[in-house]
């Protein structure tokens, strides 16, 4: 394969060029209620070429080998066009050459598990909620997605890596009269099929929660102090802060860039945030990014002060900051963009009881459902929550959606718990050409946040 890629790359007449070929294997088993709606295993493949010439950088995607020539022509035309027009030439930070292959160690390779075993496992989990009268339907999907990546650049880097993602994700929908309530389920990870085994108790618990939601009251809209559980703290740090650690999002917004200078005090003293995708056995784990740069653990915030940023080679050169190995594509259909790997709030010292006692009156809100960031604003939803009165957790509430502001909310995190949980499934969309990163991993301890605006219903 590398010889073929080398031949294709040799046709690119540029100052720098790289080519990535991926074979992507997808297995899917999907249930909608009792009905099996999808099952199958397929593979697809394609190429991405990037070229940098005279300060113009462009990319092309193609899926047929026969299109290689016109793809190379197209990427050169684009790079030259940018070079002629660009006011600021693109540069790439220097990195060490990599000659390597990384095939992750798996606890059960999903490629070696039969389709019928996968089917039976999903059916078993799916039957747990469906055994209850008030569960209207479920939507449960098993997937294993394997990206077999081959990367080569004109500097001499040659890299092979497999990314194996296994997951079971979906939602349970409960209905009582006109009221429907839904709750997400998610299990999985980067280190093999074992991450989706033994989830029976989990499905039992989720079923109970969604049935309880039918009896919960809608939360009252307004400003609330809240304790967030680790899942929610993870999405919170991802949406409220993480995206603006991605250098490409602020590179060309001069006024945001000014506010996000290293050394700026953005958060409360108690807040330490890191992106560390190098830890094995968690969802965000990888060795090399899609520019062939080894990923590094990056401290993003220390004691509330901005201390680092996530970079591609291009943005690292532009900012004059170290490369971090965070330039990642969804798959062979996309050029890479800057992505969080595994972002989390580092644990502090307080127990959950201490946090709710410190909260006094407010809300204890749990489990993320969807978040979004646009500029300084962000929103995210909690799947359920409880009213807290005098430090005691009381009745359940639903329909919890939160909005906040990057610069203000990070200062309102006033206490950090002593636990740490990282997410097992992900799905973060980003970019003018939308890419989804299903290995986007986030987490944290329980945290106490003051003054969150909650939409209510």
């Amino acid at each position: 394969m590398f010889d073929k890629l080398r031949a294709m790359l040799s046709k690119v007449d540029a100052d720098y060029a790289d080519i990535r070929y991926e074979l992507k294997k997808d297995t899917i088993v999907s249930f909608s209620g009792k009905e099996l709606t999808e099952i199958g295993a397929n593979s697809t493949d394609g190429y991405v070429v990037r070229a940098l010439k005279d300060g113009g950088m462009a990319s092309v995607v193609f899926t047929k080998e026969a299109d290689a020539e016109r793809a190379v022509r197209s990427v050169m035309e684009s790079a030259e066009l940018i070079a002629r027009n660009a006011k600021k030439p693109a540069k790439l930070a220097e990195v060490e050459l990599v000659q390597g292959a990384f095939i992750p160690a798996l606890k059960e390779d999903p490629r070696e598990i039969s389709m019928s075993e996968k089917l039976e496992l999903v059916r078993k989990y799916n039957d747990i909620p469906l055994g209850h009268e008030k569960i209207a339907t479920t939507s449960i999907t098993y997937q294993d997605i394997i990206r077999e990546k081959h990367f080569l650049n004109s500097e001499g880097t040659q890299m092979r890596e497999d990314l194996v993602t296994t997951r079971i994700a979906g939602e349970l929908i409960a209905k009582d009269g006109d009221l429907t309530q839904n709750l997400r389920v998610a299990a999985g990870g980067s280190n093999g099929f074992s991450t989706v085994r033994d989830q029976e108790d989990y499905f039992e618990k989720r079923t109970k929660i969604v049935l309880d939601l039918l009896k919960a009251k809608p939360v009252e809209g307004g400003v609330h102090n809240c304790v967030l559980n680790p899942s929610l703290a993870g999405v919170f740090v991802h949406e409220a802060f993480g995206h603006y650690s991605e250098a490409d999002l602020i590179e060309n917004l001069p006024s945001m860039r000014e506010k996000m200078k290293i050394g700026s005090k953005l958060g409360n003293q108690v807040l330490n945030i890191v992106d560390n995708a190098t830890m094995a056995d968690q969802l965000g784990f990888y060795k090399y990014d899609d520019e062939g740069v080894p990923v590094r653990s990056t401290q993003l915030m220390k004691n509330g002060v901005l201390s680092g940023r996530l970079h591609s080679r291009r943005s690292a050169a532009e900012f004059g900051e170290p490369v971090s190995g965070h330039c990642v594509a969804q798959d062979y259909r996309f050029a890479p963009i800057i992505r969080m790997g595994t972002i989390f709030i580092e644990p502090g010292t307080q127990s959950l009881e201490e946090l709710t006692a410190a909260l006094g009156d407010g809300l204890y809100i749990l489990d993320a459902k969807g978040g979004a960031t646009a500029g300084e604003n962000f929103t995210f939803g909690a799947q359920y929550g409880y009213v807290v009165k005098g430090g005691k957790v009381a009745e359940m509430v639903r329909d919890i959606n939160i909005s906040g502001n990057l610069y203000e909310t990070m200062k309102n995190i006033t206490a950090v718990g002593n636990d740490l949980v990282l997410s097992k499934t992900g799905g973060c969309g980003k970019g003018p050409i939308m890419q989804t990163n299903m290995r986007s991993c986030s987490g944290g301890p329980h945290i106490l946040v003051n003054g969150l605006v909650i939409g209510g219903a």
Binding site: R70, V223, S255, P432, I454
Partner: protein
């Protein structure tokens, strides 16, 4: 394709081949500077087979071995996904004007020049940080099946997008032009953006409460997702739609009429057949507030003893790789009928209220139930019929089956929504707005 179909025909009861070949070209401007370009050439084949009432599915980017490809589909039969339906025989489709050949050779340079022209206008009239993008695509789609259908289309699409951002916030106002061929960003869109931007430089922190809310095109994906969830045959079949028993009943205000006309080739993306080869036809979904019809693909039509309405598309709410997706019901060409009031007239009708330009978090919350709770991104505050400033931290929340009953009036102009629908601005009363005060 013919050979593959013949091979499949020998071992299955019926088969369908879906083939695509697309080329895209995009240019991106950040901080009013051209700094990125991307192109894509993507093709592939997808195969559905039916044998003994079971559905098999396979797809590939590169058909190197027909037998192996067919075997992949045969292997997936073992799972036992039911297929009560059969592939249709579709003939004599209307001819639609959906392809502008000039897009095949449109130079990236021409797109760059147009983005530059618009950037210069924004620069001269505002202090905003400016993003622009333009993209052009052309493509071929062909569907063949063993019932004798062989339909194909060649189409083109062009989009130019401008975004003016309040400095220091990353938040701004965007508008887009979508067309079949190259076009200049219309002057009225550009001046509308500049006008709104200029009136909203001041940041306010108004009191919350129930008030009039004007939903701008950028925010209406909030409604569209929930409307199409409620009206989808899939939701009705799964018993999660609150509309299951409500055909013929009033579900929205009488000023709301929702249509789906795939054949209207004035708009880009018109289709004479869906992704299952079923002929498309115009459909009224909601007429003067009254629910008229659900929309179906082949699978759900068969399950619910109805006819496919030609709404089987290989997509998800987030888009996705259509080669790898199986068709599901999708309201592909939704449009809300415009009213008679201009934007300025609608603002005048607001004593006190919020204009929600974009909605953040439209994808979360209880979508089947119609609930929404979205951040204003940004919001514009209105007092005594005048826009007086911009609001940052606020949420607009409710349930579409209540909000869209409280319609005051509907704007007179159609805009593309980010989900592909065409919508006017909609003014609603008595909507809950939560703010910091």
């Amino acid at each position: 394709m013919e050979q593959l179909l013949e091979m499949a025909g020998k071992v299955c009861d019926s088969a369908e081949i879906y083939s695509i070949d697309y080329a895209d070209k995009s240019v991106f401007f950040e901080n009013a500077k051209f700094n990125n370009a991307d192109s894509k050439f993507q093709s592939g084949l997808s195969l559905r087979i039916i044998k003994e009432g079971k559905l098999g599915f396979a797809y590939t980017r590169n058909l190197t071995d027909r037998q192996e490809f067919l075997q992949n589909a045969l292997d997936s039969l073992k799972g036992g996904v039911g297929a009560g339906f059969d592939f249709p025989l579709t003939k004599e489709l209307p001819r639609l004007a959906i392809f502008d050949p000039s897009l095949e050779n449109l130079s990236a340079e021409k797109m760059v020049q147009e983005c530059d022209r618009v950037c210069d206008i924004f620069k001269s009239k505002t202090d905003a940080e400016i993003e622009m993008a333009a993209s052009a695509n052309t493509g071929k789609l062909r569907i063949m099946n063993s019932s004798g259908t062989d339909v194909s289309m060649k189409s083109s699409g062009y989009e130019i997008f401008g975004h003016i951002i309040y400095p220091g916030t990353g938040v701004g106002i965007w508008r887009a032009l979508m067309s079949k061929g190259f076009g200049k960003m219309p002057d009225d869109l550009v001046s509308e953006m500049i006008d709104l931007y200029t009136k909203t430089s001041k940041v306010l922190e108004p009191k919350g409460g129930k008030m009039k809310v004007l939903f701008m095109p950028g925010s209406q994906i909030t409604f569209n997702w929930r409307i199409s969830s409620g009206i989808s045959s899939k939701s009705v079949y799964e018993k999660v739609s609150p509309l299951a028993e409500k055909v013929g009943e009033r579900i929205f205000h009488e000023k709301i009429t929702i249509e789906d006309d795939p054949l209207d080739d004035e708009f880009p993306g018109a289709r004479s057949f869906d992704d299952e080869g079923v002929a498309c036809k115009p459909m009224t979904v909601v007429e003067n507030g009254v629910l008229k019809s659900f929309f179906y693909d082949l699978d759900h039509a068969k399950k619910m003893n109805a006819q496919s309405t030609g709404h089987g598309y290989r997509t998800t709410r987030w888009g996705g790789d259509r080669l790898t997706l199986k068709p599901t019901p999708a309201l592909s060409h939704m449009s809300i009928k415009p009213g008679k009031k201009s934007f300025a007239e609608l603002v005048k009708q607001m004593d006190r209220g919020m204009i929600i330009e974009n909605a953040l978090g439209f994808h979360s919350g209880n979508i089947p139930n119609g609930d929404y709770s979205v951040g204003v991104n940004p919001g514009f505050y209105v007092e005594k019929g005048e826009i007086v400033g911009r609001v940052k931290d606020a949420m607009v929340a409710g349930n579409i089956y209540e909000t869209l009953k409280n319609v005051v009036d509907v704007g007179d102009k159609l805009y593309p929504s980010s989900d592909g629908a065409w919508v006017p601005v909609i003014l609603c009363d008595d909507v809950s707005v939560a703010t910091k005060n």
